[in-house]
Every structure is written in C-alpha cells, then in structure tokens.
Symmetry: C2
Amino acid sequence: MKNLIKSALLLVAVSMFMMGCGNNGNKTQEKAGALGSNAAEKVYVAPGEHDEFYAFLSGGYSGNVTVYGLPSGRMLKEIPVFSQFPTSGYGYSEETKPMLNTSHGFIPWDDSHHPDISQTNGELDGRFIFINGNNTPRIAKIDLSVFETTEIIEIPNSAGNHSSSFVTENTEYVVAGTRFSVPVPQVDMPINEYKGKFKGALSFISVDPEHGHMDLKFQIIMPGFNYDLSHPGRGNSHGWFFFSTYNTEEASTLLEVNASQNDKDFIAAINWKKIEEYVNNGGGKKMPANYAHNVYDESTHNATSTMKKEVLVVDPTEVPGAVYLLPTPKSPHGCDVSPDGEYIIGSGKLSADLTVHSFTNMLKAIEDKKFDGEAYGIPIMNYDDVVAGVVKSGGLGPLHTEFDAKGNAYTTFFISSEVVKWKLGTWEVIDRKPTYYSVGHLMVPGGNSRKPFGKYLIAMNKITKDRYLPTGPELEHSVQLYDISGEKMELLSDFPSHGEPHYAAGCPADLLKPKSKKFYKMEENKHPYAIKAPQDAKVVREGSNVHIYMSTIRSHFTPDNIEGIKVGDNVYFHITNHEQDFDVPHGFAMIGANTSEILVMPGQTKTITWQPKQVGVWPFYCTDFCSALHQEMQGYIRVSPQNSDIKLSWSLDGE
Amino acid sequence: MKNLIKSALLLVAVSMFMMGCGNNGNKTQEKAGALGSNAAEKVYVAPGEHDEFYAFLSGGYSGNVTVYGLPSGRMLKEIPVFSQFPTSGYGYSEETKPMLNTSHGFIPWDDSHHPDISQTNGELDGRFIFINGNNTPRIAKIDLSVFETTEIIEIPNSAGNHSSSFVTENTEYVVAGTRFSVPVPQVDMPINEYKGKFKGALSFISVDPEHGHMDLKFQIIMPGFNYDLSHPGRGNSHGWFFFSTYNTEEASTLLEVNASQNDKDFIAAINWKKIEEYVNNGGGKKMPANYAHNVYDESTHNATSTMKKEVLVVDPTEVPGAVYLLPTPKSPHGCDVSPDGEYIIGSGKLSADLTVHSFTNMLKAIEDKKFDGEAYGIPIMNYDDVVAGVVKSGGLGPLHTEFDAKGNAYTTFFISSEVVKWKLGTWEVIDRKPTYYSVGHLMVPGGNSRKPFGKYLIAMNKITKDRYLPTGPELEHSVQLYDISGEKMELLSDFPSHGEPHYAAGCPADLLKPKSKKFYKMEENKHPYAIKAPQDAKVVREGSNVHIYMSTIRSHFTPDNIEGIKVGDNVYFHITNHEQDFDVPHGFAMIGANTSEILVMPGQTKTITWQPKQVGVWPFYCTDFCSALHQEMQGYIRVSPQNSDIKLSWSLDGE
C-alpha cells in the first residue's frame, strides 16, 4: 500500500513535468536552432527536383503508412494497410476486401506502429516494408515496387501486437511480440488470476527469400509480462533478437501504478537460430489455432484469404540456452541495437539513465554460467555482468535510440522533450536539442541496420498544441527534422504528420526510385474479369448477378449505357483501365453505391458492386480528371422493375 | 456522321497535345521561376511559427477536405466529410454513422469537389465551409470553430452534384446544380429517349442566419443539359447566380464526341431573388421526394438522420424574368464572377479564348427584350449583346478563373498547362507561367468573394508524373504555389495534395485562429451516455446489450477490467474523455472489433460496439500516446459462454 502511494506521488510529479513541457515552448531557444535562410535552403526542394530520402511513417490509429520525402517533409502518398481507404477503394473493392479478413471477421481498421524495411546482410535492400497491426494482431507487407500492401498475416495467441514488426539481418524472419499477455489458449477465467497463468507469445514469421511470402514458423510462449519493443541482433549478434518487457509485476489492473513497482524489468534475449534448429529437428508442439493469411496476387489483381488452423509453439524452458533475461531499469520501452550489433540499449521509461548491455559480456556470462536466479525457468543474468555502460544524460523519460555511421547514438526523452546525442563506448553526451513536444520515436534513415545514413534525423512528437495554425480540438502530430551531419544537431523544420506516427523507416531515394513500377502491363493482367481490349466489353447475367466487363480509356467507358438491369440485381462493375502510360488512372463511381469508388491504375482491373433499389435511369462517371474531356466520361444504367422483361443490352456511340 | 469523324479527329489531336504536355517538363524554364534561396525563404515557416493563410482543398475521390497552411504547403488536417475515416472513427462510431445515411442507405464515400467559405456582405466570414458530394448528391457543412462536419443534406432529383457548393453574398443560400440530367421524377425509360425528357435540377439550400442549419428551399427544373459549375453574383449582381452548361446537344452516349458538337453552349443566369419571391408567395409545386438530412449536435455529440419527403420544384417558364441563357463557346467549364460582380467569365474548355459577359449588358438586353430565340421556353440572349470582351491568350483548354484585389484575373489552361494573368476590362494578357502538369482549378484566398487576398495563388494540377519521388503506379496530385504580389507571377514551390483536389478555398489565418475551439467543456456535454466524472463509471446490462460507461484520464480507464460479458452480447463502449486541456485526446481500441477505434477529444463522449465471438480474456487499450505511462493504459474484458452465470462486475485498482 505504501508503495502504491509512493508510486502515485511519483506519477503526479511526472505528470506535472509532462504538462509543463507541453506548454512552455521556448521560442528563443528554438529560433537559435533554425537560423533563417540557412535552414530554409536546407529543406527547400525546388519545383521538379526530388527529395534525397524516402521516409515511411506509421500512421498509428490511421492504420496505414505514410510516405514522406526528406528534407522537404512533403507527404508523397498514404499507403492503405489495415484500414479501409475510400480514396482508392482499398477494403471496399471485391479484390481487396479479403485483405482485411481476420479470425474475428472483416475488420476495417488497425493501429499500425513500427515499419521496418527488408534487409540483406544487415543493410536495407528496399524490397519490402513490414508493419504491425497492434489491435487485432497482424503483420503486413508492402511491396516497394508498387507501394501497395500485398500480404497480411494474423498472429494467434497474441494481443496488442506491439513489439513488432522488425526483421532479422537477411529478412529470414519478421518478428512480432505480444504487448498484452493473455491465456494461451484463450479460456474463460478471472482476470485477477492473471499472474502465472497469462502468457506472452513471441512470434517468428518466416519470409520466403524468393517471393517474400510470410509463414508463421513458430511462437515462443514466454512468461506473462508485457512485451514492448524489439530489435534484431546484427553482425556478431546475428541470430539473436532482443525484446524489452514491462509489467514483470504481472499486474492486471491500474498498470500505471501497479506495473511501475519493480526496480528492474527485463530485456529478453532470444537465440532464434537455436530455436529454429530445435523446431527444424521436430521440436515444439503443434497447437490448434485460427488465423487469417491474406495474399494479394499482383497478376490476378485479387486477394485471397485463407484460414490457418495450426501453430507451432515452443516452451522456452525446453530449449536450454535459447532465452535469457537481462535486468533493465525500469519499465524499458525502446530496445535498440547498435549498427555493429554489440550494444543493446534499454530505455527504462521511468528511469533517467539509459542502460547499455554488451552482447559480448552477455555471451561471456552465459559461458561462465553466471546467473541471478530465474523467472518461470528462464535464466536471469546479473545486471553487472551484462551492462556495458550507463548514459547519464540528465534527461527524463528515455524512449528510443537510433544511430549514425560515426559511432553516435541519438535518444529521445519523452518527459524532458529532447533528443540527446551521445557516443557509443564512452557514453558521453555530445549534444541535446529540445523537441516540441514530448517526443516518442525518432528515425535516422537506415538507423536500425548495419549501415545508417546519418544526414537527417526526424523526431516524432506526441503533443502538438501551438506548433501550427489551430484546427479545432483535434490536431495532427508533429514531426521535426534535424540535420545531424555535424557535431551539433541543427533543427531545420517542423511538419505535421498524418495519423499518429509511432515509428518510421527511411532509405536513400536511389534505393527505390529505379525500380518503382509505372503501370501494369495489359498482357500480364490475369484478372478473371479483365477484358483485353474495349471491344471485348460485355454484360453477362447469371441469375440476379449481372457482370459488367467494362473498359476505360480517355475519355469514355465501354459500354457507356446499359439497359435490362432490374431492382434487386447484384451488379458487378469489373473495370479494366486500358491505358498503358504512367499516371493515367481512371476512377469509377456509381450513384447510390454502398461502397466507395475505385481508382483503377493503367493495366489494372477492379470490381465494385451495386444493388439498384429503385427504377429509373442512374448515372456513373470517371472520378479522376483524366483529360480535357474528362467531364464527358459518363454513362447511364437503366433500372427496370424486378419482373420487367426488358432485355439486357448495352451501347456505345449510339449503337 | 461526318461531324462525328471530324470531332474524333479533333479529339485525337487534343489528346496528343495533352500527352505531350504531360511528358515535357522544361526544367530550365521551371528553375528560372523559382530562384534558389529567395523562393526557399518565401515558403519557409520556421519551427513554431504559423502560416499566413489557411487553404481548404477538396479531396475529390477521398470524399474529404484537407487543410493546408500557406505558404509552407504543410497539411494541417484532413476533415472527414463524406467518407468513413478510421483515424477518428468518423462513420464507424455510433454517434457519426447517421452522418452518412442517404436515401440509398449508408454510403461510406463520396466525391467532394468545391469547398466554399461562408460570406457576409460578400466577404469571407469564416463561420462555415461547404462542400458538395458529387456522386450521391449531397451538400455538407463544416463548422470552422471545430473543423468538423456538422451537417449533410441530400439533394433529390439530382445526379452528379457538380456545379456546387457555392454561396450567395450573405450565405442566404448554398447552391447545388446537377451535372447529369435524369428523369424527374425518376422513371424506367429508354436512355436514348433522353432528349427533351431528362431534366437538370438547380437546388437552392437556405442557410439559417442564426445557427446555420440547411434546408432545401426550392429546385429549379431546367432543360436536360449538363450543369458544370456555378458562381454567385455579388455587388450589383447580388441576387443572381450563374451556371455553366455543356451537352446542350442533350447527347446520351459517347459524350466526348457527341457533346462537343455545338459551337456555343450556355451560361444560365438565374435571378434567385425573383424565384425566392415567387415561392414565398406560394409559387412552385410540392413534389414527393426522399432525401436525408443529417445533423450533428455539438452538445449531445450525436448525429441524427431525418428522411425528408417533399421538395418544392419550380418550372422556370412560369417565372418570367427569372432565367436567361447566355451563349458561351464551347462546353464552358468554369463560370467565375469578378469581385465587383460585373463580369461573368465562361471558360469554354474546347475553346482557346475566354468569354467575358457583362452583367450590365445583360440587364440592358433584358430590358430591351433583345433575345435570340429560346430553349424549352427559356430566353436565349444574343451573344453580342451580353459579351463584354474576349481574352485571347493563346492558351488551350481554359478552365477556371480567380481574382486579386487589383483588377487582375488568373485563368488556368488544362491543355497548355499554364496559368495566365490578365486584366479585367482591357482583357490584355500580363503574364503566363507554366504548371506541371495539366492544371484544373486554381485558388487565391478570397478569390471567389468581393475581397480577394492576392498574395498567393495555388494551382491544382491533375497530372503529376515525375514531379516527386515515385510511389509506384498511384501518385498524389500536385499543387504549385505562386507569389502573385508583383506584376509577374513567381513559382515558389510544389507540394503533393491528398486525394484529388478539385477546388479550394482559402482565408487569412487571423479569420479562424482566434475562435478555434481547444476542447469541449465537460459541463456542456449532454451526450446521453456521458458520465460526469470517473467515479460515475458503470456497466449496465439490458438483455444482450451491455452499456459500458467508461472514463479516460491520464493514464487509465475506469473501469479497466470487466467480467460477466457473454458470447453473443452486443457491447457498447461509451467513452468519455475527462481531460480538460488542449491536445490531450485518448483513443480506444478493442481487439477483434469490427469497426475502427475512436479518438475522443477532451470533454467528448464517443461510442463503438463490439460483439465478442469467443470466450477468453480480451484486452483493450488507449491508441493515443497520452503520457509517459500511456503504454500502461489498458484493460481486459472477460468473455464467458452465452449460458454462463458469471455476474457483471468491474474493477479499478484491484477492487
């Protein structure tokens, strides 16, 4: 009880600190950080010129990923991932609806947190970007040649899929860790019997080296802590993965107090190569499960959803030497690994100091069998045996760390609202710059890889308040761009994000530019309802289902008028865009349709449905301003009564 | 037939021209327009400083409105209007679902085109911004104190609600015109009997001067042309409204050829004051109809949808002197009125020249009864009697015109990809600057009012191609910012838009800044499921419906654990955010919910539903990073079998 009161008092103090930071933007200090035209020129990308870097920001509660150019801070695209997206018809079109299928049925949304670009030999390779769905646990894959979501896999036995989605050095695996522990398997039980009974699953999803398909290879069933973030080993530590934990108290109510009791929580070090070997040799236990695997086929332009019924689970106590717990103060959030793989940085979010563990020290202590007890059968290391150093910066509320290529680390502090630059190995603080306000993640392009590109750093701030013109009670979050090419960081600019960016991944423009697809080749279109040319357009009735095989080309639909549709029909518009040039989409909208429009790229086929409810003559039109005669791109559907004998017919050019 | 072939050939020539423009970005020319640091400094808004202007861009096929700051080009917010918006739960939450109700049922999307800010005495007053839904005809109203959509009214007898939503000088009316003519009332009839039988409705929606509520006052049932755009008279011409028309051929198939036959189409001049007087004196005919009127109540935080069953229609031939047709070459698109109200500019999109009509000339010719026949009983003016001048710029494909306060006009040319500045009255061309590529609308803040703020101009370009780093086949559209304070226009910057911006409205920052609401006062919250304080939290079962009255405050839910929920229940989470400070939202997400999360602003209450499908213990959490202990803001729901006798109970802090 005493502890509770103490914690509550601490909390009040912390809260006051937080609020103070949010309100006191020191304008003088901030102007010194962005000196007039110098900063202006540094972020200015002249009309027609291109940015140097791509930055992929998670959308948080938008469920999507947004693409920005750096240094300009211009948003280039929003890629729909877990959320319905009326702009393109994603999640509304017949082809993409299966992407949002789950074991809970169709889910139009998720909370996307941590994008990670695929790697080869520890360096960004620009093939894919992965992102986690937090709420209904899933991992999505975006193909970076088309900037579209092409695969989503659900994660069973998981809840609040937060310590995800990070890749191993050669993208052997993308990793997902549960934030909330739950009964595994699920069972109707009292919540206050949580302790010892709830479990935390850490999932390793293999990525096929050839075509990139994901498969849930195994899950490690860990103690019932909260697993917060994770990062891969690299270089010497390749083969290991590190997960931060909090709530090692295993509290199940009022966590803001009850999960802040222990002086130290853990970073869990997982030797995934050892577990991989174990399961390849028949280890682990097959467990009944039910989770969706959704794949978008780029040749048929169609997604399919398959329910998988089994998952391989591993009890870590049955694989000696595979899992260790590294004590880390207190309630560590970020868990970041240096470019050389030697240092694992744990940021105890209620601690002032950063704890840096040494991979070499850890191996040595394991070899020497020096442990400090165990938790549920998993060895706990001695803090002093594994720690390499402590960064005493004076900041409060450390969260996340990224790196440059010169041996420097950059850590965000939420409570004291700043980014602190410090030196790996000496742990000395080199520079600090304020953020406005309450920074969460930060990102250096390649900063989570063996090869960071340490020119820019973005800070993603959780509180915005007065940074931009007001937009009522709801504000976008704020991003700040720093030049980190010199000894001291320089604040260059602020720009709003879209959604809530939790984390970001970035890469040089040249990694993606040359291979970005411009349009889909018509001859490669294997969509079952595609037509190869406008003259193949047709309308086919199958009972009350009517399939319209429609063509778009500047600036008309074929067919543009259709008669013989009846009230109660289910009308499928299968629209093929026969353009074969870059940036000539056509859109399709039908009055009264209970879905969105669809935006159809050149060479692509998409389908929406419409249920006519009333007789009459009803128009459709193109939603993308495709040419000078775009306004003329329209057509009508004549709807007759259900018992009408009007024959199905369609016309073009008065035929 | 000969005409058709001629037109087809013209079309090919035009198309080639268009494509040429899209591909030949002349980099030398463009760099000269944005000279290094000068332009960089002009668009740079230092960290923490505010932009000078708000710009509200329609989202086109996104269905929403986006808010930008000028000159920085930073997107400050996306306001959901006609589309479901997973980011905030708009269109998913119980409170906001009625906003998307229509006579066709729930529609999750529309195509939003023309925002217009409310006016008083012809000047922007910053109370509301209106925007049209094109596809399923509707007008929406956004309250600019909260930047939220608060009202949507459906438009019956309309189809492709394009020549909308523009306001009269004192916001007496917001006006909506049908793009597609249809049978009025709807009837099952052959499409090729269109001519003479289809009609075009122009709708005048009154706006209550006190609380802003909209009501469909009357519809004018016009000939079966396509009505493209419209603008209000102002000053001397206050009381009139002008609509451009195309397809006066009344073609119903392959319009790109068949609606391009007539040398001149019309601008329809509507004396709405005369019609208002007519209907106020009992004129017009009440006609059965079915259209939705959706209102969001800011005190209950709830929207209601009411189906209206009647509309007042006016036959223009029964109100002599109310409607005239002004011949305008050819297929006019834009229809813009000078700040003093004297000039009506018709941009024939297949013409090289701009046609400027004079309001004074028109009145004179009407007085003199000089007409050139009639169309369906509506007098046609003599072109030579009404024209004030012709702007011969040499550009191709003129679309839209805006104005500055110095007597200059700025017109976009889609085909020749440029903005041309010219002088009102002398019609001389003063300057021209290329756009990249194929510009549609342009916007000068206040440029559609008596008081333009002629410092910046934005061009909204329809084709993007190589302007930014590539993002696969799908690109955002491109906006270009020009400084128009000098004699010559200066291109300052490019930035991508979000969705397809058709038109925009802008105003000085100071018009909106002082009155922007920061949070909702708890004592004003009249939501039926709100609780006044965390201690009022409760869970109430009503049959299989369970209502959870939940509180959020940093950083916990009250209650945070709930037991006694059963498979098959319908669980309502009514979340009240008890924070009372700016920018402290909380979010709420429930695993497996078949809706989105909700983002709840301070003092607000929002509701989502969840249908538990499987027994177990299932988590929820806060989706907005609200404090240093945000990760601890979570809870569990215990789900028992349908026949379970577990009592409903809830806990906080281990109670």
